[in-house]
């Protein structure tokens, strides 16, 4: 997956966690939790879904990279290059 595909994948994950949210307002550089109404429990689920779907382990110290879609994409790219979109 490239960074564009990773951003879409993260958005897809958010849409399963919070199906009632309007994700069209999301921007690549905006703070996810400000653009979409997610609490810390929802946030944990993004990490859990990544593990479930792609076997990616994210240590708690790295959660900070998940603040924006760009941050997610940059952090996940090296871990997801082998994964087909």
């Amino acid at each position: 997956m490239n960074q564009d595909q990773i951003r879409e994948e993260v958005k897809d994950i958010i849409s399963t966690i919070a199906p009632d949210e309007d994700l069209s307002v999301m921007t690549n550089s905006g703070i996810i939790r400000e653009e979409v109404d997610l609490d810390s429990m929802d946030f944990l689920d993004i990490i859990m879904e990544l593990r479930k779907r792609h076997k990616i382990e994210v240590p708690e110290t790295d959660y900070k990279f998940f603040a924006t879609l760009d941050g997610c994409a940059e952090y996940l790219e090296p871990k997801m290059t082998q994964i087909k979109a």
Partner: protein
């Protein structure tokens, strides 16, 4: 010979918290098994069928109502965490509930303004105090359960200067969730105040069955394993880590973690630990369910739930006698904003009871026990004369359960439905990899129990 497999987690109890925890773990591909000793799931919020009629046990209604589309609060949180839709619960809001004391009556709906106006009407000199109390509750962060007991009575009395109003405010909150007698912990008070007065009551058309069937299907469809009629005899920590769960059938299961919704003292027993008598809950109840040949509203019984005390002073404590008739709760499942009428009129009546006396009576002589239940129904009907219009001529069917019944089916010591007076916020039991969820972790009611299961699974068994 049966192969012994290791579960990522074993959950004790197929009640609300067990299903909440189980769904979370199964969702993320954990190998998880829920063990339930009874043949019916639900635990303290369960159901049964008798002579063609369906009955619910446990909470009369769901607290913590949140309207469709609401994103904050316990109900939206559990819906999201369990990937359920608001519509799945089929909730219908209450019509109106009442708190009836000898000379005063407060009324409330799921809109706090309604109660505020009722207080203004009944206690005009206390209205500012009541509004100040609401604000204090609103700003209190109940997210963390503190370990030290802070008296809610003291805190409320420092603002509200009418003892009668204080007791009337406490009455529904204690009845629907206090494991402690006389007083509540301030944090518990805030949780209950928000869940009942700010958020309010609702119920699914099909009652607790609807919610349980949804939870059970979700759990099983996500790959969870549910073992019914599987009583746990003991939980044994293994020297190399992990746990052995021994069933009364002789079967042995292995698990990396155990989440127990059995209760604090009950779990301590399973671990072979000593139980402090003060950790056993004192509060249990009797309930009589009246099936009527008319709808309650046609008998001018209009409230969804009516909390009452025959004395100006409300005593929330273990009953000295079999039953404490001086206060109670009357619930009409028919009186909710449900467009589809229920099959028949029903009144559920609950009083504080003495578990020991009921248990002694039952073990001594089943005939005397049943006589006592019949005598109780007569007294209950007489006691309701000042509370609601007489419905004694409209009774089609009556069923009763006591603390002995509750203990028998839920294994809660003394049928203590609100669990131990000691709540363990982080779920720890003192034994590695064994955690509590449910009532004794600190959250109550259907929504609270579900939330407890979710939180404990997230914290102790998911990552």
């Amino acid at each position: 010979m049966e192969q012994t497999e290791t579960y990522d987690a074993i959950i004790i109890g197929a009640g609300m918290s067990g299903f909440g925890a189980g769904i979370r773990l199964a969702m993320y591909d954990k190998k998880v098994c829920i063990l339930e000793q009874h043949s019916v799931w639900g635990g303290l919020n369960s159901f049964y069928r008798q002579e063609g009629r369906q009955f619910d046990v446990g909470l009369h209604a769901m607290t913590n109502f949140a309207a469709r589309g609401h994103k904050r609060g316990p109900l939206p949180t559990i819906l999201r965490q369990l990937r359920l839709k608001w519509e799945d619960f089929d909730l219908h809001e209450q019509m109106q509930s009442k708190i009836t004391f000898p000379d005063k009556q407060l009324r409330f709906t799921n809109d706090i303004e309604f109660l505020t106006n009722s207080v203004r009407d009944q206690f005009p000199d206390q209205i500012d105090a009541f509004i100040a109390l609401c604000e204090m509750v609103r700003v209190h962060d109940d997210g963390q359960l503190p370990s030290d007991f802070v008296s809610a009575k003291d805190k409320v009395k420092s603002i509200v200067k009418s003892d009668l109003l204080v007791d009337m405010i406490f009455c529904p909150l204690m009845f629907y969730g206090s494991s402690t007698e006389h007083d509540m912990d301030w944090n518990q008070f805030v949780i209950m105040f928000k869940s009942i007065y700010f958020e309010g009551f609702s119920r699914p058309h099909a009652g607790v069955r609807k919610i349980l069937s949804l939870l059970r299907h979700t759990f099983v469809n996500r790959g969870g394993e549910l073992k019914m009629k599987s009583s746990v005899q003991s939980i044994v920590p293994l020297p190399g880590g992990g746990l052995k769960v021994l069933l009364e059938s002789g079967e042995e299961l292995l698990a990396k973690k155990v989440l127990s919704s059995a209760g604090l003292p009950e779990t301590q027993k399973l671990l072979g630990l000593e139980v402090a008598p003060s950790d056993v809950g004192a509060m249990s109840f009797v309930e009589t369910i009246f099936c009527l040949n008319k709808m309650p509203r046609d008998l001018d019984i209009n409230s969804s739930i009516q909390f009452f005390s025959h004395n100006e002073k409300f005593h929330y404590q273990r009953s000295q006698d079999l039953v404490d008739y001086s206060s109670g709760i009357l619930c009409c499942p028919n009186n909710f904003q449900d467009p589809e009428a229920l099959n028949e009129g029903m009144i559920r009546l609950t009083h504080i009871a003495n578990p020991q006396l009921w248990k002694n009576l039952r073990s001594k002589d089943l005939g005397l026990y049943n006589d006592a239940k019949s005598a109780m129904v007569e007294k209950e009907i007489a006691g309701l004369k000042s509370i609601v219009p007489d419905f004694s001529q409209n009774i089609e069917y009556v069923d009763t359960f006591t603390p002995a019944t509750i203990e028998r089916f839920t294994r809660r010591i003394d049928g203590a439905v609100y669990g131990s007076p000691r709540k363990i916020g982080d779920g720890s039991t003192g034994v590695k990899d064994v955690y509590l969820c449910g009532t004794d972790q600190g959250y109550l009611g259907i929504v609270g129990s579900l939330l407890s299961g979710i939180l404990m699974a997230n914290r102790h068994a998911l990552i």
